[in-house]
Amino acid sequence: MEITEYITMLGNPLTVLILLPITGALLLMLVHWLGNDERREMLANPIRYTNLGIALLMFVLATFIGLEEKFGLAWGEYLYQNCEIGAVSTGSCTLISSIGVSWHVGIDALSFPMVWLTTLLIPISMVVEWDAKKGAYFHSLILMMEGALIGVFVSLDLFVFYVFWELTLIPMFFLILMWGGEDRRYAAQKFFIYTFAASVFMLAGILVMYFNNDASWVGNITGKSFDFVLMDTSTNFIEAEGLRSIVFLLMLIGFATKMPSVPVHTWLPDAHVQAPTAGSMLLAGVMLKMGAYGFLRLGVTLFPDQVIEFQTLLIVLGMVSLVYGAVVCLGQVNLKRMVAYSSVSHMGLIFLGVATLQPLGIAGAIFMMFAHGIISPLLFAVCGSFKHHYHTLEIDSMRGLAHHSPWMSAHMMVGWMGSLGLPLMAGFVAEVAILIAFYMAFGWWVLLPAVTLIVTATYYLWSMQRTIFEGGGEAQLPPTMHDEEPRDITWHENTGMLILGVLAVIYGIYPDFFGMFEMMSDWATLLVENAIYPPEVNP
């Protein structure tokens, strides 16, 4: 292992995308910590701007990658890979080669939207919560999370994937614990333990996969490799059908919890309600997508037969999440909790989309990840501004806030409408795609998700009616305001929400903006052609 090889490793743009924010954040925190009180005071703002600067730089980088590449890749092909398939665990890929762990990164049409979304949401969430207390740490933690999230999306080595998967928990844990609401202690612990507990099952699945992924030529201790591409390209990956099922189910536990799907969703409302605004935005915007991404990347790509075998299970999970989530939303009295459950409901559609095995459904599911990643942060930003400016999220304690906060109300309207699937907003594209495919695959069952859309509309409109509307000529302020003067959102919040709202509309009108839907659709087609119905079967 030569030092130079590490330097080439750093030269890979994806590696940079992972390491830059993590090291940057750590350095900034260190710089802040080293100073005395006076220096810290002085450094607070520069550190904040540096954080934002790095985040924006990341966004620019990701955007360049998007502009540069069209992602018209063949199946199993990845861009910016740092090593060849045969060469895993050697050369620039070396990480823990003795057990077959390699630093293997790559990006394709499935991961690029997620990476871009991450780099987009991070600066926005920073801006929305620009005034956070102890911002040097707050923004640094967010930045750190960015690295971990991108790590999840671009790593092609399952060990590294899992490491980043869990690494995302730590900054989020601190964001909730240190900057959260009243009950943050419970929420942070629950969030961490619950998702960790679920992901260890996924790890068990990964390990079984690992032991069936022969890489004896590398000559390490086990003769196996964690490399995903190897698994994907090996002809007889895990021969025993039953074992494949077990692996699939184990991983499903991890992914379903992360997404989250009923009945393993209860960590989400607690985490969301207590998390700071930026935390909720990222939690809903990107972290939930990790589950769906993992499911598509590992579950569907590697175990297409199991997707067919457990189609019913997927549909039941998705359907129950969708319907039950929506109904539970209707019974919520806390605005953020309601929005959190709505995420559960929307994520249910992803399972439905995948279960169709149609490119349209799968592309719809991916677009749902993306669209929800734009819209739900907006929802949580709105909830955050309620909390920030009115100090409460109890729906029934206020009326007519549009009187004092027109901008906030406007954003609420945009977000709520986008989330309930209004056409010409991003969510609708996904819903339509998924449901069309769902009808084509399962026929009349589509009535259930369709009717749920009415429930969705109901709880959204009802909550709007009871918070920003009504109230007569004067707004009815919540008691938590005491005698404080009500005000509208700050310009930071406004900027962040505006960007998200505009993007939601742009992607509703033109889903192909920045090539998004096209690349998702291409990926889904390739998946169906090559994985679900591999060419031997396909006449």
């Binding site: 003795s98 057990i99 490491v163 961490f192 068990a204 690992y210 003769g223």
Partner: protein
């Protein structure tokens, strides 16, 4: 017995060089602090001719320095560690060699390795384990550098002026380097005993090493004899420990009656022909002794008491080096002697003990409010994980899978030194201000000292097995070994068929996962109180630079051995050791 033969050539002498260094250190620590201006007055009348002979008298400044014994011990341990490392890398001495006693003469050299009279075996396994022991003890000594840690937390009420004088004398005595000498001496003896366990190729030899280390550690546990709980912990640990040793020794004696020879190679071949009842009982009794050392249920009860009575570093040593020693002994017996090709007799037994141990440990730790007891219970749980690995080895028989599991166990024992000992060192830091035994004492630690708090958090997360820390990698290797042992020959085209064909060991792996998740609860609680809860105590933590240095080493270790090139190096070394263990 002629030891001179061991020095007959450079290579021969260097065979046991780390152990010789330990021995020299012990001698040095006995002699050096006693050096003083002692003189012998020549009996010449009228003349005051004095011949200095240095042993005794008013001691020199440096020999009465409280830091001296620790310095000697630390240097000794460090030298031992480095020589072991170098010889392992082939830089000095020999990488593989054996010591045998033939015709009353001790002989050394690779050619004796196949000889039946071999008593010590130098190979990758014993060297690596030796390094683990010395590293752990080295960190403990560094943490004890210039003080005996822990002003007792059960303070004596100072009612009168006289009490105060008495108390100050006590404190003075504490700072006197006599106590330090005792401490350092005991630590070195522990090191020597443990090294002997790792090296021994003979069960009785192993037992002698075990006893040496144990007895020194009994004293170390009760070292805080000024407190109410120190001696109590010592007594309990001592009594339970000696009974366990006695049972184990009885087991060994039964094996002797059965076989007539206690060398491991001889026992192995006899066992392969089929043990009789006496041998089986002997094995069971040895399991009791080693089970106590690794604190397996139901022999773990004294563990939390001993840990909470002992000072932080000592408890850390018990939880890492001492436990590792127990596992070395266990593996020597279970893997070296009794491992059968197709499922050993003890597989189910160890599997059950493992399951109970990890679950009991975790559940007990869950409600513990004393971090030291919590760590003790967590140590029990970790023993359960390793036992599960051993059970899987038993199910697998020798082979690649077993080697992997053994690699994982060795790796785990190695990295345990970083985070478990590190956690105890953080406790030691708090003990400097007489606290650390209540969860409340950790409140607001992040505000008082962020670096220590972050280190503690890293230790906790590593203990829980959160990536990318060392604890994760070790647990992952362990579980992957167990899984590999079960999924290799799984067949069945449907889910239920496959479920039936899965070996029961697979569920041990799942149980490990579930337990990891449970354990996260109490590990995370420490993190939460450090970062979340407020404290009215806004003093800075004690400076104690040496403890901090030791903690930083541990922190670094917990990170670098989890993810990256050093983890790779350590894993390879552990693999070599595992190969050596399997012969």
């Amino acid at each position: 017995m002629n030891l001179g033969a061991l020095f007959s050539s450079v290579n021969m002498a260097s065979t046991l060089i780390p152990e010789w260094i330990l021995l020299l250190g012990i001698v040095a620590i006995i002699i050096v602090p006693n050096l003083g201006k002692a003189t012998f007055r020549l009996p010449v009348p009228g003349k005051a001719w004095r011949i200095p002979y240095f042993i005794g008298g008013k001691r020199f400044a440096f020999t009465s320095d409280p830091r001296l014994p620790s310095a000697i011990a630390a240097f000794t341990l460090f030298a031992s560690f480095i020589t072991a490392l170098l010889s392992q890398m082939g830089e000095i001495g020999v990488t593989e060699s054996c010591v045998a006693i033939r015709d009353g003469v001790a002989r050394a050299g690779p050619e004796w390795c196949s000889d039946g009279s071999m008593i010590l075996q130098i190979d990758a396994f014993s060297r690596l384990m030796g390094m683990i022991f010395t590293a752990a003890l080295l960190l403990a000594v560094i943490a004890n550098w210039d003080r005996l840690p822990a002003t007792p937390h059960h303070r004596i009420a100072l009612k009168t002026q006289r009490d105060e004088v008495v108390e100050s004398r006590r404190l003075h005595r504490l700072l006197n380097n006599r106590r330090q000498v005792d401490f350092a001496l005991l630590v070195l003896m522990v090191a020597l005993g443990m090294s002997t366990v790792a090296l021994s190729a003979n069960l009785f030899m192993l037992f002698v090493g075990l006893e040496l280390a144990s007895m020194a550690s009994y004293v170390l546990v009760s070292f805080n004899k000024e407190t109410q709980i120190g001696p109590e912990a010592g007594v309990k640990y001592f009594i339970v420990g000696s009974v366990a040793s006695a049972i184990g020794l009885y087991g060994i004696s039964m094996l002797y009656i059965w076989n007539g020879d206690l060398s491991i190679s001889s026992l192995r071949s006899s066992w392969a022909d089929g043990p009789n009842g006496m041998a089986t009982i002997g094995l069971g009794m040895m399991l009791v002794a080693f089970g106590f050392k690794v604190s397996a249920v139901p022999f773990h009860f004294a563990t939390p008491d001993a840990y909470s009575g002992a000072s932080g570093p000592v408890a850390g040593v018990l939880a890492t080096a001492s436990k590792a020693m127990g596992f070395v002994a266990l593996m020597r017996v279970l893997i070296g002697i009794t491992l059968a090709d197709d499922g050993s007799e003890w597989t189910i037994l160890i599997g059950v003990i493992a399951a109970i141990t990890m679950t009991w440990g975790n559940l007990a730790a869950l409600g513990s409010r004393n971090p030291k007891r919590m760590l003790a219970y967590s140590s029990v749980a970790h023993a359960g994980y390793i036992l599960a690995g051993i059970a899987a080895i038993g199910a697998l028989g020798p082979g690649e899978g077993s080697e992997l599991i053994a690699t994982a166990i060795i790796f785990h024992l190695a990295v345990l030194v970083t985070f478990k000992l590190g956690a105890f060192l953080v406790i030691a830091l708090l003990e400097c201000e007489g606290r650390g035994h209540e969860l409340e004492h950790y409140h607001g630690l992040a505000r008082r000292d962020p670096l220590i708090a972050i280190s503690m958090m890293i230790f906790m997360l590593a203990l829980a097995g959160v990536p990318p820390l060392a604890g994760f990698l070790s647990k992952l290797m362990m579980v992957s070994g167990i899984i590999s042992s079960t999924v290799g020959d799984v067949a069945g085209s449907s889910l239920s068929e496959t479920m039936d064909s899965l070996s029961w060991v697979f569920w041990l792996a799942i149980l490990i996962f579930i337990n990891s998740a449970i354990s996260l609860f109490y590990y995370l609680r420490i993190c939460v109180v450090m970062f979340y809860d407020e404290t009215d105590r806004n003093l800075r933590l004690s400076r104690a630079p040496m403890i901090r240095i030791a903690i930083m080493f541990c922190t670094m270790g917990a990170i670098v051995f989890g993810f990256g090139i050093l983890a790779d190096v350590l894993a390879s070394a552990a693999h070599d050791a595992a190969l050596a263990l399997f012969g």
